[in-house]
């Protein structure tokens, strides 16, 4: 049928603009991919003089890369864990009770994501200094947790708002204590929000530069390592190899999330509201 919206053709100029926009966003990614195979190791010239796989071997053998990846994963995992715990607790408190100063506290929780990272960085640095806390991977993790909490909090608080308080009351009424109610009623209903918030928090922490710069001691996370590597004109394509690795690793959770979302949609059609 002609009236079907999906059958209608977009104007040619609009199509061209959309394609151009997409190219602008994704061509640089393709270039990064390309230069991972370049034989030229001091500058990016186009087209690359030749293609080689040797940078993958070089990257594999460099301990500093492994250290940076390891640190980034550790920091992201632990700040996400802290964020999931504190974020969901805060969300539960905010959505289930009314108390004096509730709005103010809600704003304070969200503030770290709204404030420029440089402010968070400076204030944390001076706070750690004042407290005599030495900079370590723990200080990086704490710094990241400040904004990771927001990601989890925002997602979970929205879910809690859609959850009638009568579900919790019904569960208690039927004999479930607080822990059982959490496990059998609350958790299944906030699980996807918790997962989405956690993934966002992980991603945010994994590529954070500014707060990390202020809260790190001698260690470098992966983004910091890349930044310093770009400045040094030594084995440039190695950085690209690492970037390719990051792209591949990032795709995995994206695909999983898409599959999960599709499954949720499918069961929606089956009737879950």
């Amino acid at each position: 049928m002609r009236s079907d919206a999906s059958d209608r053709k977009a104007p040619r100029a609009l199509t061209a603009a959309a394609v151009a926009g997409l190219l602008f966003l994704h061509l640089p990614l393709a270039l990064i991919l390309l230069y991972a195979f370049s034989t030229e190791d001091a500058s990016y010239e186009f087209p690359p003089p030749g293609l080689t796989l040797r940078w993958f071997a070089v990257a594999w053998g460099r301990q500093d890369i492994w250290d940076a990846i390891g640190l980034s994963l550790r920091v992201a995992a632990s700040s996400t864990l802290i964020a999931m715990l504190l974020g969901s607790l805060a969300a539960a408190a905010m959505s289930r009770t009314r108390f004096f100063g509730r709005e103010a506290i809600s704003l304070l929780i969200i503030l770290p994501i709204a404030l420029p990272g440089i402010l968070t960085g400076i204030s944390l640095r001076s706070a750690f200094n004042l407290g005599g806390i030495p900079f370590s991977s723990w200080t990086i993790m704490l710094g990241h947790a400040t904004f990771c909490v927001v990601m989890v909090y925002n997602n979970v608080v929205a879910r809690f708002r859609r959850m009638p308080s009568s579900w919790i009351e019904a569960s208690m009424d039927l004999g479930a204590d607080g822990f059982q109610t959490f496990r059998h009623v609350v958790l299944p209903n906030i699980a996807t929000a918790l997962l989405v918030g956690g993934m966002l928090a992980f991603a945010l922490s994994f590529d954070e530069v500014i707060v990390t710069t202020f809260t790190a001691g001698q260690q470098s996370t992966l983004p910091i390592w890349m930044l310093t590597e770009l400045v040094r004109p030594r084995q440039r394509p190695v950085t690209n190899v690492v970037a390719v690795f990051v792209i591949v690793v990032t795709f995995a959770p994206l695909v999983v999330a898409q599959l999960l979302a599709r499954r949720a949609e499918g069961s929606n059609e089956g009737g879950i509201r």
């Binding site: 009568s166 009351e169 019904a170 208690m172 009424d173 039927l174 004999g175 204590d177 059998h184 879950i272």
Partner: protein
């Protein structure tokens, strides 16, 4: 008969808002007890106190003679059918019904069989694998009922259980709830703002108004001997008759309730007799209700009274009057019921 629930001078305040203001109430074991009142009268608050979701600000609540103050909701032998049913959307119907058994650690086999029994009892056998969202409102209501009864509570609380159902279904569920309660023999306490429902279903009921109990009694007592102007007007229709004649004896003065069906309407002046009182007026409106006809009559000093005549067919003729006609209303003075003057609040 021992008491299932007893309220002793219970108050409930949220900040400055007084939800319950000195409630004394006794609900007996095994009775179908109605709590009737307009919205905001404190009837749901009362239910929440019995379930244990809220704590009284003052006074005590006893369940089967024991103070419930320190007993959390999950340790009370009381279950609730929620107004919005509160079914768990992530569980199947069978899992919903078996929830109370699962958290008590009953094994899977027994859970299945008892949930099956419950679903059979509410006539939903075969729907156990569905999700709540796949059921109609009436079916969800039955699931909520089955889920609340699976733990075999001694008291079942129902918060406006039929509010969301359409008229036919509601009438059917009223009958089913009554017979279910008679079979199980447990105490049902149900909250409603529908006076017809409260009268037809309850063994006894309490009329709530502004956080207080106006009156408790059997439906018949409350209908025929309303003690306050509020119960007279909220439960059924009522003509409020004030007699302040200085000539009459003092025991005949005061405010009285007179049910419209006790008022006789005629087109001719009735013969005076010692027990009957009559007034004259002009018909303002005639409403045909099928089983009965309701006449609104303007009497002296701008007030109006209502008379209801049953549509008895060949046994008695309905007065055929048009608005504007002059009629006489008469009633027996024994049908006047004296009201307690409401305390001003």
């Amino acid at each position: 008969m021992d008491s299932a629930v007893r309220f002793r001078n219970v108050c409930l305040r949220y900040g400055k808002v007084v939800a319950l203001d000195g409630i004394d109430l006794e609900i007996r074991s095994g009775e179908f007890f109605g709590i009737l009142g307009p919205s905001g009268s404190g009837k749901t608050s009362c239910l929440r106190l019995i379930a244990g979701f809220d704590r009284p600000s003052d006074g005590t609540i006893e369940l089967h003679g024991r103070s419930a103050a320190a007993v959390p909701p999950y340790d009370r032998d009381v279950n609730t059918v929620f107004q919005d049913y509160a079914l768990f959307p992530h569980m199947t119907i069978e899992q919903n019904v078996a929830f109370g058994l699962m958290v008590k650690g009953v094994n899977r086999r027994e859970r299945r069989s008892r949930a099956g029994e419950m679903l059979e009892m509410v006539r939903l056998e075969g729907l156990g694998e569905r999700r709540p969202s796949q059921l109609s409102g009436g079916q969800r209501q039955r699931v909520a009922l089955a889920r609340a009864l699976v733990n075999r509570p001694s008291v079942l609380l129902l918060d406006e259980p039929l509010g969301a159902l359409d008229l036919k279904l509601r009438q059917q569920m009223q009958v089913e709830l009554r017979s279910l309660q008679r079979t199980l023999g447990i105490t049902f306490i149900f909250v409603t703002h529908d006076q017809g429902e409260a009268l037809s279903m309850s063994d006894r009921l309490a009329v709530f108004n502004r956080g207080r109990v106006e009156q408790t009694g059997t439906p018949r007592e409350i209908y025929e001997q309303p003690s306050t102007r509020f119960s007279a007007e909220f439960v059924g229709d009522s003509n409020i008759v004030e007699r302040r004649d200085p000539d009459t004896r003092s025991q005949e003065q005061g405010v009285f309730s007179l049910r419209p069906e006790k008022v006789h309407l005629s087109t001719r002046e009735p013969v005076a007799d010692a027990h009957s009182i009559s007034v004259t007026g002009e018909v303002a409106d005639v409403q045909f209700h099928g089983a009965s006809v309701r006449y609104v009559v303007s009497v002296s000093d701008g007030r109006s009274m209502t008379a209801v005549a049953g549509n008895l067919g060949s046994r008695a003729e309905l007065p055929a009057v048009e608005p504007g006609a002059r009629v006489w209303l008469s009633w027996n003075s024994d049908d006047l019921h004296r009201l307690r003057e409401s305390e001003s609040r």
